[in-house]
Amino acid sequence: MVTALVVLAADLLALRDLELRFRLSIGALISIAGCLVSAGWMLALPQHADFFQGTLVADSLRELVKIALLVLTIFTLLLSIETNFTSHVGEYFALILLAASGMMFLVSSEDILMIFLSLELTSLSLYILTAFNKRSVQSAEAALKYFLFGGVSAAFTLFGLSLLYGLSGSTNLAQIAAAIRGPGLDPLLAAAIVMTVIGFGFKVAAAPFHLWAPDVYQGAPIPSAAFIASGSKVASFFVFARVMMLGFKGAEGGGGWHAYRPGWIPVLAIVSLASMVLGNVAALAQSSVRRLLAYSAIAHGGYMLLGVMTQAPQSLAALMYYAVTYGLTALGAFGVVSVVQEMSGGDRLVDFAGLSRRAPAVSLCMLVFMLSLAGIPPLAGFFGKFYIFAQALSGPADGMGMLWLVILAIAMSAVSLYYYLQVLKQIYIVEAPAPIRSLPAPVLSQVPLVLLALAVVALGCAPEWLVGKFTAAVKLAGL
């Protein structure tokens, strides 16, 4: 199901000498067709298989996540059509598709070796995508930063995983869990936990491993940044949750206020707390919308970690609902930034001034995205938060033990409203600078934005559709 994408990517190289715009459209169309085919394939022929003892697993939950990833990829491709930063169209789309297939392998795997390999496939493609704007110094700088941090964190991950292998003698998550289960916490296991958390913490841009995120979000070409913020996040959170919940089962520990026990939950609690506080507070001071989105992504990473930590029956469903809706919202927000950048040449807050009078449809979309990120009902972001918080409190072990973290998270989301409103204030309230360069927003780029905004509204008003699918799939997978 994945190979279709890779083969297709090669085809694109044939279209060398056509006009740039035309090639962009053709390339995107072919890639989208590929994504649709593979999504349709998964829908039509649901498989339940287990290749090579868990090296690759296919079940309904994973298929659902993969379809979600494909949808995000399709929107990323749509966003790419209107860009003009590169003439290497074929390579560009091929890389996006490669990254997408890496993510899908990542989601499918239950074997730490395979997880590491697909993690690297995804990351390497994303490094190159970040650097793809060869005319921009920022893009190169961001990519270098991303690459260096990524390399170090990959080393950490590998170290953690090899410690695990040493402890358990197996690369399969379930067998690892069986081997490490014991009354106490082995110091080696503690080291493995910390190393793994660092590695994945980097992938999901959780503080204090977030330093690459603002630069990459700002410097990378917009579709790449959007893809890093959406698809990569969904896949990494899924596998993060799997490794923690399955692989370290039995070493949870307790993060309750009065019920501290060593294990991986306290570690994650600290990372989550740091992400929420740092992300939200640092976002207050940003003047560039892209950097603002980066810090908000860090903060959202903190909320999502809350979903990783809880072990209620539906917490994985809550986490995936949150991650997917967040991905859609972030994609949309980046799409708006891209339109604005074309219209007024920058992504600073002041470049958004008076947008509502120049491009009402785009502004309305941005209103939806920002309010959803802030967690205002009836948009998807609010329901996601509610769901995650409710699950966090209903964990079996210490019941209300996570209450302190939930309170902090809700308080922090009140802080976040301020900076989201700052963006909307520029759009709706501030008057546009005197000579209004009334560049009409390109129609083609508005279509995906409107679709995304509609999706965010629809998923918020009728969350049952997606939630029901995820809960059913989680139940079926026997988690």
């Binding site: 009902p377 409710a390 809700i410 009140a414």
Partner: protein, 508 residues
Amino acid sequence: MLAWTIYSSFLGVAVLMLLPRTNARLARTVALLTALLGLGFALGGMLDAKIGEVHTITRVPWIPSLGLEYHLAADGISLTLVLLTGLAAVAGILFSWNIEHRAKEFFAFYLALIGGVYGVFLSFDLFLLFVFYEIAIIPKYFIIAIWGSTRREYGAMKLALYSFVGSAMVLIGLVAAYVVSGGHTMSIFELAKFPFPHGFQMWAFPLVFVGFAILAGLWPFHTWAPTGHVAAPTAASMLLAGVVMKLGAYGCLRVAMTLFPEGMAPWGTHILGFGSWRDVFSLLAVIGILYGALVALVQKDFKFIIGYSSVSHMGFVLLGLMTLSQVGMSGAVLQMFSHGLLAGLLFAVVGRMVYDRTHTRDLADLQQMDLGTLFPFTAVIFTIASVASMGLPGFSGFVAELQVLLGAWQAFPTLTVVSGLGLLVGVAYMLRALQRVFFADREPAPVAARSSGNGHLSLEPISIPERLGAVLLVGVSLAIGLYPRLLLDWIIPSFNSGLFGGLPKGPP
């Protein structure tokens, strides 16, 4: 039928968004029609409903996997407030007839706010209630920040953040209640019956109560109210004071007090002289009454006077709720209704009739203008509104405050005396404003003043929509004042329904 109050408002928003951008008159008409339709549905719903029982309108599963329902229902309290919302919405649109700048967007935000408010009053599923509660926050921000006056961006942001912090506190309490009760339902009926542990109620009650009370202007969390009211355009001040502050008080009653009645039980020990959360909040309410009145007494800005008077009057609502006696609580609900009308009227006079014409709200400047002779109609209306808000018998405010004080007398005699003092100060600040703005003794040079300041004569006369709106509000207030049973017959039986069964009864 009542449910259509919500749907018609949001439909109105959708229609407005499709209208051409330049035609302000069309936007106004559509908005007015929508508001009238909402009021009509509210009245129709009242006729439909039976007195004394909770009347379920719609109840369908919304998110079955979490047990959340789309559950609209109404009892006498909701009906009273829905009616108030309808009246305030119509009056607000009549008083914003002169909006020309981005009129379409203004009315779209306005109707979205109204729709959210209707939704809160009619939701009997807490999740749904919270959704509508938050829907009401965002339009306020935009209305104030785009169409407001003095320090509008500051006032708007302050208002939005206060509301959001309050709703964050409410959200914590609601999520916790949902989880503690087993995570099956958010229905108010079910949760009101659920025996929450005593310790849990002891922290959840103050959390949720304060969360809602922030929006009701509880001292010391009231500071958003004066700045927000002053910054807001006329219609928004009318709605803020008239309806939005009621959202907070309604939430206190409907959510905090219904779900966690044991939170008001005595602690068993005394800390700084307080024996329970009830003592704490009633003291804060009385401080609000007195503080609001005293601060209003020394304001120089006409609109700030009304803004602080709102804080003072809302203190009566919260005090009435804390009495826990039937007379006090029904007085509180009646006070919500009455203050909604009167504060709306006062803000309309200040914002639309005076400020939009004179472009100043400074008492010293207004004193020079001889508004009493220029606008006799305004002077009459303001006189009526201010004596009504002082609590003159015959108007709704009198009945309501009397009931609150009666209830409070049984519960907290000392505090009642103090709040009576607040009433006295209330008379003083209203008379001061009335005298200085409309009936000032000026230096005997009226002819010279007029010839030099030609602007005075060219002031636009009071328009028909304004007269209609003012007459509407005064008429309803008078009707309720003369025959309060019109509403009390709805309100009082509601307190006997099973929902309030858990409240500690009577005077302690």
